[in-house]
Every structure is written in C-alpha cells, then in structure tokens.
Symmetry: C2
Subunit: 395 residues, 2 copies
C-alpha cells in the first residue's frame, strides 16, 4: 500500500469513449472553495446552469437540470419517473446502452418490447413504426441517439415523430451526442433526454444533464404510484431546483462538480453550438483521412458515423489490446477497446469536446502508427499525419 503519500497521477491524452480531456478553466473552476448548497450565490449558479443546459439541449423546457450522478443515473431517472408497474415501453437495442435501457424498463416492473438492430447499424424507423402499431397504448419509446458502444448515430427526429404519432413519450439517450453533433430537443419534440458531463462537454464524469418536456412533466404528475427511487424522484428534484423562494431541500448538490459543469457549458456557449459541431466534424474528417491513408479501415458507414466516436478496424493478426497498452505506456495516449461483436477487433477512438483538436488528431495518429510499426505492421511512414494535415490545413 503506497497511500502514505499523495497520489502521483499520470498526464494522459484522453481519446477513449470518455472521459475526454478537461480544459484547465474547468479544472480551475472545480478547485474554487466550496460554498453551501443553500447559499444565495449557489442558488444563482444553479439558475445559470439551467439556462446554459437549455442552450446546449436547444430547449425551452423549464425542467432542465444536471442529475447528481453519472449518465446511468440520468438514464434511470427517466425510466423510474415515466414508467409504472405494468406499463409498456418499446426499447430500441443496437448496442450496449440500448440493452441497459431494457434492464431499466424491466426493473421498473414494466414490459419491454425490444426492437433490435444489428451491432453497428442505426435504429430502423420502419421497425419502430411496426412495433408502435403492434403495441397500442405503449407509454414510452426509448432509444439511444449516439451509441457510445458502436459509434453510430440514429435519427432522433424521425423516431420522436413516430412516437408522437402513436401517443408515446420518448426517452432519448444522448450521453455522447450533446455538444458534439446536433441535439435539438424542442425541434425533435423529444420528451425526456439525458446526457453525460464527460463526453463532448469535457467536464469530469459524475453529472448527467437531463431535460423533461411538458408532456413528460405531466406524466410524472399524473403517476398513480410513488417513484421507486427517492434519490431520483423528479417531483422532489423539481422542488430542489425550483430557484430562489420556492426551493425545498432534497439532497446536497455536488457543489464543486457543478462549478466545473458551469464552466464547461460556458465554454460551449462562448464557442457556439454550431461551431462546436463543425469542429467535431472537421476533426473526425481529418482523423479518418489519416486512418485510411495508413491503410486502415473505419468500421461504421460514413452516413451514420459519429464524428466524436470513431471505430477503427484493427489489422488482422494484431493484438489490439497490446497496441492500446503500448500507446498508453509510451505516448500517454488513451484509446478505447471495442465491445460486443467487435471486441478484440477494433478500437473506439473518441474526439470529444476538448479532445477534438488538431493536436489530438495528429497525436493519436502518430502514436497509433508508432505502436503498429513496433508490432511489425507495415504502415507507410508518416502517411496518416500527412493526410490528416491536408484536411486540417483546409484543403
């Protein structure tokens, strides 16, 4: 045991599926002295965070807050508040997080109707339409907008429109989407949407931005039974986040983590949402050009690929985990392994938030080339970096 002394932390370049690199401004905000959660200054900060989240989500929803827990707590908040025993939910599964949604539905004592699509494919709206038709009275349609496990984007607008046609509420997971690609809660007509702090917002993990629209709030208020989670009961959380005057105690908010979220959201607004989306798209284009110039292939089709999560096929015969260990050990570059059907055969490379910069694209390509070459894979020297630079230089 070496905890006699302070912990000696390495400095990494974070290019996995999250967390992403955190800007010094956010780290600095988090290290400001703690104040009380009932302090008038903290109440003002809460109000600003709600405003900034509404900007990020593109919504006017009054109930837009960060849940005091990671993305999986945000997910659970949606399900436990909208579902009651015996309700039916259609759950789209095309990766790990769809499967987790299904778990949530079942643990609420509700019935999960699963619409499955292949690993690496987007959700097929036709199948969803058929499921909605076949299951009248469905209360919730739940799907993942940006699947972190596969790097695939699904058509949130189309899926929300289908749900609305059939009178179902939508629960949308955009943990990896928010700040990286277009998320447009009001235009979609989405009812309950959650995200995570540690992806394209580049705030440390531990908070889950969440927004509930009027139909979702009405459904919470119309419940016949109490929400099974006290901690995630939105009728209580609404009171806690109600603003000066109407606030009622629920839990103690994670003060310093919220300082960080505030700063990260402020940086997003300073840049502008559309500019942030364009930056993610440009960094991914440069990265993909580099990967392909190295003779490697992307796993997901370009039209449904998330720019912030790039899945690269490992060359056959290469021990992909050894490449990751080499990159981390020598170059301090973290990339992610693949899951499910792709485990051992691909890498997940995140270019999210503060990790979506030319420095990260070029650093990753260089480290990957070095590790592959050291493992005996024949790679045209420097080709990846040159091709990426061409995109970055604005060709």
């Amino acid at each position: 045991m070496r905890n006699e002394a302070r912990f000696d932390l390495p400095r990494r370049m974070l290019l996995g599926p999250g967390p992403s690199d955190v800007h010094p401004r956010v780290l600095g905000a988090m290290s400001q002295p703690t104040i009380g959660h009932l302090d008038p200054a903290f109440v003002s900060l809460m109000e600003e965070i709600k405003d900034l989240l509404r900007y990020a989500f593109r919504t006017t929803n009054a109930f837009t807050i960060p849940i005091s827990g990671p993305g999986s707590a945000g997910m659970e908040a949606c399900f436990v508040n909208l579902l009651e025993h015996g309700d039916t939910a259609i759950v789209c599964v095309n990766g790990v997080f769809g499967t987790r949604m299904r778990e949530n539905v079942e643990r609420c004592g509700a019935c999960a109707v699963v619409v499955e699509d292949a690993w690496g494919s987007p959700i097929d709206p036709d199948k969803v339409a058929a499921a909605l038709k076949a299951n009248p009275g469905t209360k919730v349609l739940a799907f993942v907008h940006a699947e972190t496990s596969t790097g695939v984007r699904s058509d949130a607008a189309a899926l929300c429109a289908l749900a609305k046609q059939h009178g179902a509420l939508t629960i949308v997971d955009t943990v990896t989407g928010l700040g990286g690609i277009s998320v447009d809660v009001d235009a979609w007509g989405a009812d309950a949407v959650y995200s995570g702090s540690q992806k394209c917002l580049s705030v440390p993990p531990g908070l889950s931005p969440l927004t509930f629209g009027p139909r979702a709030v009405a459904a919470v208020k119309a419940r016949k039974t109490k929400v099974q989670s006290w901690f995630l009961d939105l009728s209580l959380l609404m009171g806690y986040w109600a603003g000066e005057g109407g606030r009622s105690y629920h839990h103690t908010a994670p003060i310093n983590a919220l300082y960080g979220l505030h700063e990260g959201l402020l940086m997003l607004r300073e840049e502008g949402l559309e500019h942030a989306w364009a930056r993610h798209a440009r960094m991914s284009a440069a990265f993909v050009a580099g990967v392909e110039a190295m003779g490697l292939a992307m796993q997901v089709d370009a039209d449904v690929r998330l720019p912030q999560l790039n899945v690269v096929k490992a060359p056959s015969g290469v021990d992909e985990a050894a490449i990751r260990r080499d990159m981390l050990g020598l170059a301090d570059v973290e990339i992610g392994g693949a899951l499910g059907a792709w485990a051992g055969k691909a890498w997940r490379i995140g270019l999210m938030g503060q990790s979506a910069t030319p420095r990260h694209v070029l650093g990753c390509l260089g480290a990957l080339e070095g590790a592959l070459a050291a493992a005996g894979v024949k790679i045209p020297a420097g080709a990846g970096v040159v091709a990426a630079r061409r995109v970055l230089d604005g060709a």
Copy 2:
C-alpha cells in the same frame, strides 16, 4: 442572465450542517487532470480509496467503496439491495433522516415498522428491543447514528447488538458521524453503513462512502429478485470495484471527485482517527463554553450531543433567519437553520472536519455576537470568545 462571464464565487466559512470547509490540498487534488476510469493508474487509486475507507470505517469489509452520488444515494443503495418486496424493516425515526429511511423502505415495496423517538432524543434501545420481539422475521433494523437534523448521537453498538440477537441486518446512517466521532463498524457488528463526503471528511459533496459486511453481502447474493435500481445494484458495483483483473464495466466513476476523496481520507489518516475525534470534541467544548458565556443555551443534552453539530437555541423574540443572513452577508459565516419542531427557534452550527478549528470556533462566536448585538440582543461583549479561548488554551 449574467453567465456571459465566469462566476464570481464568495469565500465563506462553512459552519452549517454540511458541506464543511474543504482544505486546499483536497481542492488541489480535484483540479488534477482527468484520466480514464479504466486507466491502470486510476485502478490503483480505487484500491487505495477502498483501503483508506476501511481505515475510516474501522472495518476489514472487502466491499467498502464510495457510491458515485450523494449520501441519499448511499442510503438508497443500502435499502434497495437488502430489501425485497414484502420484507419487513424496523425503522427508527428521531429526525429527518429516519423519516427518509422510512420512505426508502416503502418505495422498495417492503413493510416499515416505525419506532419513534422525540425530536432531539436518541433512539431508545428498549423500544427497539420490543419492536424486534413483536416482529419476528424482521429482515432489517435501520437507524441513524448521528442525526444531522437534530445533532443527536444514538448508541450504534447497542442497536447493532439487538439486531444481531434477533437475526436482523442493520443499516446504519453515519453521514455526519464518520471522521467526527467514533465509528467502529466491525466492533459494532454493523452490516451496511453509509456516510457522506461533505461532513467530517471535508470533501465536497457528491460521494457516499459505503461498507457492506459479510452478512449483508450474503443477503445481496441470496436475493430472489433483481435490485430495482440498476445504478445502485451492488452485485454490479462489486464487479466494477473488484480491482485489477476482475473489473467489469458498470458506470463511469466521478474521477476528479475521487481524487478529492482520496486526498481527504489521506489527511484523516495522517492526523489519525482518534486525534480527529478528540479535535472535534475539543472544538465543540470550546464553542459550547462560548455560547453559554454569551447567555445562550444548547438544545441537546450534553451526553447525546454530537460535537460536530451544535444546536443552539435562538433567544426568544429574535428572528433567527435574519441573524443567519447578517452573519453570511457581513462576515461570510454560514450557519444552518433548524428543522422540524425547532424550525425558527434554533441554529445548527457544524464544526466538522476542516471546520473544526479554533479559527472557526472563534470566528463563529464573534460573528454571532456581532449579529445578535446589531439586532438589539444584550450580550456581554467578548464573553463568548474569552470563554472559548479558555478551553482552547488548555484550561
């Protein structure tokens, strides 16, 4: 809306019921660059945190971790994992947090047998013994060791012994206890114990240290039904915190918050638990001497009073909320209002962790004297500070 610019935070002296003042070492640790939650360096940090928590809880329990949420998430983790539909739990209620425990039991679909004691009194072991006798087959006895709402300590050792005699598991809330007064999980024979980061550990809010003993772990493994919360399912969390080799993905841990917890626990071990307890006792003794020299009275009897949470009666006719506003506005000293039966009639003054120092005792007494004098209350000038100094000077 003023979030065009960075947020201008005040500097406070935190003497409410939590959060307490956070040491610059902890704030500095939290501002270290984020690394990945699967990074080998982070896995080492997780192992060290488990060791340090075992030291703080005085336990050898293998399953000793911080829950990635505030104390109310730690509370819920205990109930949802140990209770199933139809189980019976005896819940001791002598303040706000006992009432919250009861809510948790009922939301698990279990039957809550309530043993009530008066606001400001400790839990009466005789009543608990009678309830255990009257309800054979009770699965859980739940109680609050250190009631944050009243400043009262109950006899955890006696209550755990009673539960063991009757074959019931214990769930013990020591959110405000850990690090401030004797918490002795193994000696008590307590089965499931949770705490909070923001009280006597002086780490920002957002984490809930938790320990499960062998009987509690066996109960989780023997469950017939799935835990209703996916996020708080301990069988999944055990996999996530299993250490190098056996780790399985669950959620993304709040990396930077855990840096802070590690540093705060390290500081506690450097000081030594017994020294920390003695410091809390001495600061409270000095504070109480000061309060009484000012002609004010303590609300809770000395033999069951928590040194880290001092409830002071407001002089009759004084607007206690105005006094708090004055202290915060002019002296940047935060104290807490009282709840329940004492609302509007008393203050809750925390001397927790890094807020249990002579500077805080004297600063609080001075600010309180000033605010009372400004409100027209006759207070012998300087008497509080002089009396407190006498204790601090080692009389």
